[in-house]
Chain length 187, copies 2
DNA sequence: CTTTCGCGTCAACGGCCGTTGACCTACATT
DNA sequence: AATGTAGGTCAACGGCCGTTGACGCGAAAG
């Protein structure tokens, strides 16, 4: 065997499946992304998807793994936290279709919704919590921030509400940063 | 015939279909709401749905007809516009599952997304436009308001993000009203 | 050289879907 | 009483779905 050390030959296929899966899940949500279509995109037989991921559910679970890569905010001036956060989320959202897949699928699929909840509570929570004044308000404040970030993504990337889908990053940051700032820090 | 004047006998069936359809579309989005399930809920045969609405697409179009019933805001003090608006949207969202159906379906169905765009541009626009300072900014400001309202709905009714789903109406209003206020009026 | 085994194809399964058309039934009209 | 029609049932169609198991192939292992 030339296996474990330097990539088995099937790793390329696995990656192709995952990439095609994310694309399909992002474009049409959970139910419209069919294993047959994903396999076709990846240039292989649908049975391969089953062999490597077991079921559609588990394929989605693998494709929906996601790291927001939130920066450490302890160093940045508190007045700019909103800007940094909004800009980071814009870039993260546009550099990787996984988040759109998660959002589209989360609207109709309970497992996807659960994953979304996990991501926002496990990854956003720890980074933002230290900034909030009253610890008791942390969950609510973070949920409010999430609601505005998710609303932006929904309007801009999923529903494609014309005016907001055409704003530049700078404009979005200028409008949303104060909102985030207030949800996190005010009072 | 005892027809046109006082309701044909089939009107009850039509209404039952529409009601069941809204429920299913709201619970699972467009693709998971099957005509067979809707017909079963309404206590009739699937063929009836086809007879009265022609196709699933046209059934959805009928079920997704919606009036936000936005109040005339010309009478209310400008400082309270945000509060009035947020409270109205909360009530509207919770009194009628059509909006949730539209949101869930809009995530994966282009026709539903288009309908959502129509509703927000045709119904929100005219009511809020007179309040904005610079007419050129009206579309952007309205889209920003929409993004926060949609984000709230997404987090609260679809993804059920725990902390925000449990807030009282008063709390939601207290948090969101200033945001809406700023998106609409500031600068 | 033979055997094993990872990688991949192929055909089929049972099931659910939207949609159709033939048929039944009860009542309003004539 | 005869008839037309609105309201509703029923069985079936073709199609796509997720999933399965039998099979083929080429390279590595023995």
């Amino acid at each position: 065997m030339t296996d474990t050390a330097r990539g088995r030959r099937s790793d390329a296929t696995r990656a192709a499946i995952l990439s095609a899966a994310r694309e399909r899940f992002a474009a049409g949500g959970y139910e419209r992304a069919t294993i047959r279509a994903i396999a076709a995109d990846a240039g292989i037989d649908p049975a391969m998807v089953m062999r490597y991921y077991g079921s559609k559910e588990r394929l989605f679970a693998a494709a929906a793994e996601f790291d927001l890569r939130l920066p450490d905010l302890s160093g940045v001036p508190v007045e700019t936290v909103g800007q940094v956060l909004v800009r980071h989320m814009l870039e993260r959202w546009e550099s990787d279709e996984t988040l759109t897949a998660l959002l589209r699928a989360g609207a109709t699929n309970e497992a996807a919704a659960e994953r979304m909840r996990e991501i926002f509570s496990a990854q956003v929570g720890p980074v933002l919590a230290p900034l909030c004044p009253d610890p008791a308000q942390v969950p609510v404040r973070i949920a409010l921030v999430s609601s505005q970030v998710l609303g932006l993504a929904l309007a801009r990337y999923v529903l494609r509400l014309a005016p907001i889908a055409q704003l530049s990053h700078d404009e979005v940051v200028a409008w949303l940063a104060p909102t985030i700032q207030r949800y996190l820090l005010d009072r």
